[in-house]
């Protein structure tokens, strides 16, 4: 990435947090992903599977509090 780890604070401070800005940043990110992995000459399964994998991970994270009760040991 073009932003160094130490500069993340200033970078986040300089972002546009208006509703328009937030929507446009989401749009831009979506377009970047599309143009990099899907609208290419020879895209593979990676473009789609990365989306599915991130969906799986995110849904696990959101349902962790609910699955917590299936743990086999109480103390780790």
């Amino acid at each position: 990435m073009e932003v160094k780890l130490g500069e993340i604070g200033t970078w986040v401070g300089g972002r546009d947090f208006t509703p328009n800005g937030m929507i446009s940043s989401v749009r831009k990110g979506y377009e970047r992903y599309l143009n990099k992995y899907i609208h290419v000459k020879k895209g593979g399964i990676g473009g789609l599977s990365m989306v599915l994998a991130s969906y799986v991970v995110l849904s696990y994270v959101w349902s962790f509090d609910h699955i917590k009760h299936d743990r086999m040991r109480k103390y780790h």
């Binding site: 749009r27 377009e31 599309l34 143009n35 990099k36 992995y37 899907i38 609208h39 290419v40 000459k41 020879k42 895209g43 593979g44 399964i45 990676g46 473009g47 789609l48 599977s49 990365m50 994998a53 799986v56 696990y60 962790f64 699955i67 917590k68 299936d70 743990r71 086999m72 040991r73 780790h76």
Partner: protein, 251 residues
């Protein structure tokens, strides 16, 4: 490989989805590069993804510090930690996930290449069709250019055309002039002939009239006495002649 279906359908949807199309065009028409899009640049190669889910940038990020096996060790350590802390809980859903994952991976491995080649062929057909349209249009334009050049060459013969037309017109004028001249000539000759015929007639009539008048006068002037005298003379002449012939006949 499904991404190729998405590509096929997305490129078709791109024209229908207003926002997406607008944004794509906005990103293209900001006049950053040269304004013409011809020839249209080819699609980019695409980001590389290893093992189907990890992008290549992840491996490149860790390569300087940990070498080639770094990311794999990171993934292994991470999964071991998640399992041991039971942040990832193994329950019935794990079995389902493993099953689905296996089916997915096997399906992709088995049907991937054929599906990919089929979609590639569809894309190629589309591109070939569009290229054909473009080629036809270019051929049309090349023909139009040829026609235009021919027309320009024809324009150069314009002067010859005008010369011929000028000749035609002058010939028409000449013909007309001669016709009228002839007509005038004819008319004048007719009038002169009339005058001539009139004079001839006059002279002839005068002559005849005079002859008639002289005859009439002469015949009228022969009185009865003269007539008798002339008849007597004719008889005597005839007697003399008869006698002469009689004497000549007997002699």
């Amino acid at each position: 490989m499904l991404s190729r279906v998405i590509a096929v359908s997305a490129s078709g949807l791109k024209s229908t989805a207003p926002l997406g199309a607008g944004l794509v065009q906005a990103s293209r028409s900001l006049h950053t590069s040269s304004p013409s899009l011809a020839p249209v640049p080819a699609l980019p190669e695409g980001g590389k993804v290893r093992h189907g889910i990890l992008p290549e940038e992840f491996f490149q990020l860790l390569y300087p510090k940990t070498g080639a096996t770094g990311p794999y060790m990171l993934v292994t350590g991470l999964s071991v930690w998640l399992l041991s802390k039971e942040l990832y809980i193994i329950n019935h859903e794990t079995v389902a996930a493993l099953t689905v994952g296996t089916v997915f991976v096997l399906g992709v491995k088995k049907f991937g290449p054929s599906f990919a080649s089929a979609v590639d062929k569809m894309e190629e057909e589309k591109v070939a069709w569009i290229e054909e349209v473009k080629d036809q249009a270019m051929a049309c334009y090349a023909d139009a250019i040829e026609e235009e050049k021919k027309e320009q060459w024809r324009v150069e013969g314009r002067s010859m055309l005008f010369d011929a037309k000028r000749n035609n017109v002058s010939m028409l004028l000449e013909t007309n002039y001669r016709e009228r001249l002839h007509h005038a000539n004819h008319e004048v000759k007719r009038r002169l002939d009339y005058q001539l015929a009139l004079q001839h007639l006059k002279v002839r009539m005068e002559k005849e009239h005079m002859v008639n008048w002289v005859e009439k006068n002469v015949v009228g002037s022969i009185t009865a006495k003269q007539e008798q005298e002339s008849i007597a003379k004719c008889i005597s002449d005839l007697n003399v002649l008869a006698k002469k012939i009689q004497t000549e006949a007997t002699a």
